[in-house]
Symmetry: C2
Amino acid sequence: MPVTIRDLARHLNLSITTVSRALDGYTDVSEETRQRVIAAARELGYEPSYAARQLRRRQAGALGYILPSGPSQFSDPYSVHFITGLCDEASTRQVDLVISSAAPGSEQEKRQYHHWVQTRRVDGFVLNRLRMEDWRVAYLTQNRIPFAVVSPVASGEIPAPRVEVQDRRAMEELVAHLIEQGHRRIAYIGGPAYLLLDRERQAGYRDVLARARIAWNPQLVVEGDLTEAGGYRAALNLLRLPQPPTALVCCNDLTALGALRAARELQFSIGSELAISGFDGLKETEYTHPPLTTVARPAYEIGRQVCALLHTAVNRLPVEQQVIVIQPELIIRASTRG
Amino acid sequence: MPVTIRDLARHLNLSITTVSRALDGYTDVSEETRQRVIAAARELGYEPSYAARQLRRRQAGALGYILPSGPSQFSDPYSVHFITGLCDEASTRQVDLVISSAAPGSEQEKRQYHHWVQTRRVDGFVLNRLRMEDWRVAYLTQNRIPFAVVSPVASGEIPAPRVEVQDRRAMEELVAHLIEQGHRRIAYIGGPAYLLLDRERQAGYRDVLARARIAWNPQLVVEGDLTEAGGYRAALNLLRLPQPPTALVCCNDLTALGALRAARELQFSIGSELAISGFDGLKETEYTHPPLTTVARPAYEIGRQVCALLHTAVNRLPVEQQVIVIQPELIIRASTRG
DNA sequence: TTGTAAGCGTTATCAT
DNA sequence: ATGATAACGCTTACAA
């Protein structure tokens, strides 16, 4: 059995109260007593029970993150960097990270959020892949549960601190680069249409085409699912068109890996004849053949920052920044160069 | 404010006791009352507070997993599958997964384990990368904290349920395959020597060499760190030997990706002139150039199973199996074929 | 500076 | 079949 505050108090011939306050750094306990208490606590390995403390303080001391499960669940190396970032920052700040998984938009997901809210399991949530009309934002706002988001847009309407990753601008640079390379028939393989990140990346793509006075061709814009398999299928369809595109812009790296495979199968010469690009900046893109042009988003850093923001909000610490802007970096490699 | 059991009791004109028991499925409450209580609970969205329940039941309702941080932390896509497996199984079983990260063997890691034990934060631990003389095993055993392990060995000495992944046998098949291809000078780029998984994989490698009467050459066995960068460095050194090896067996896929890069830089022709193999079966190995021979370990499934074992142990459920054996599958691709 | 006691929201023991 | 009541281990008015 773990040692409790009573054990400690008895051991020291002090009251529970004094022990509690000595450890919590109250000023009204003599320095001598404090030292004795601290020494004994260390000696006996005392740490206050979370459950008891939580109950009393009405604070969970934990932050929650519910990962999206579903078709992309098995395959996204991006997530592990993100989670590690969350994790490390949480450790630094002495809170725990509680995680769970659920399919986006499912009943099960709603239940999970409600469960953690109602059981007071966590003090706040990290929201990572915002959706078009995200019920989570409405729900948490209504219930006054703190949350922080990773968002690709300057979402003034979301009343929460955010890490703003400027995907759109990065996508613009990317497509501009393709146009510079002489491409005209540029296809876009998106993610699920309900994701904000898809909308933003696609918007970047369209804007640049428009600016270059390239007519928008709906045939060249298809919806994927952020997986390798989805990218493969989509690319196959596109490349079999009577007039296939000369460039495939993919919504994320996994999709691009699938596209790469499709292109290889159909004997396209990648880079010269057909350009392919990804998005995320996975380490793995460096080792494909040819190396993949992509946009590096610092997943670990994004995770750390959003966790920091959330923790700050939960504890009402003095707020330095409510918004942290991250500009991902375009990495041009052989897959988009003649 | 979340609704409490008192709110519910008042709403129903019943005592707290009755409400609690109606919901917990006691038999001594009339069916009619039970239905009323259940209906009201749903209507008001009542769920019992975790903190209070934990305090009373002396059960955390959560399982803990501390991920290894360090050089390999940023790069292991394997982990995300494993964690998702843990997560999904935990969700199914209605417990939460609490995670954190710490460098293996660090003071900080010890503190983290102790912290969760002493604060009764979790009911048990998942141990994933066992070490040679793992203090965690000793510590948890001594303190009678349940845990379950993922182990590459039939570790009779570890008094815990385990998922036994037979890496050694898979490695034997792999090296046998290389020898069949005519290789004699086969190098091994390991992981940190303190990891059980390195010992086992290396043992498999050595055994097969011995059986084939190939003298063991210490120059050809080097220690890596499971990262791409480590693999790159190690491979560079090996390939610059006066008599370089004709095959590089890598302890994991990331290491192999690094080796691939080194070999390409030194203009080796991979597959024919130089064989390279990985271990883990990351999706990404399919898209390297040439595609990488590897051993597929079902990370997601391993995560699910070890979580299931732990949960069973924690709740003293009827035990079906204390050991789940998983035989990973050798996948031969072009990187080891002439 | 220290101690007493109430209460956080449950579950469980004992009456009724 | 239902209800008072006492914990669980801690924090925090309030009293001494």
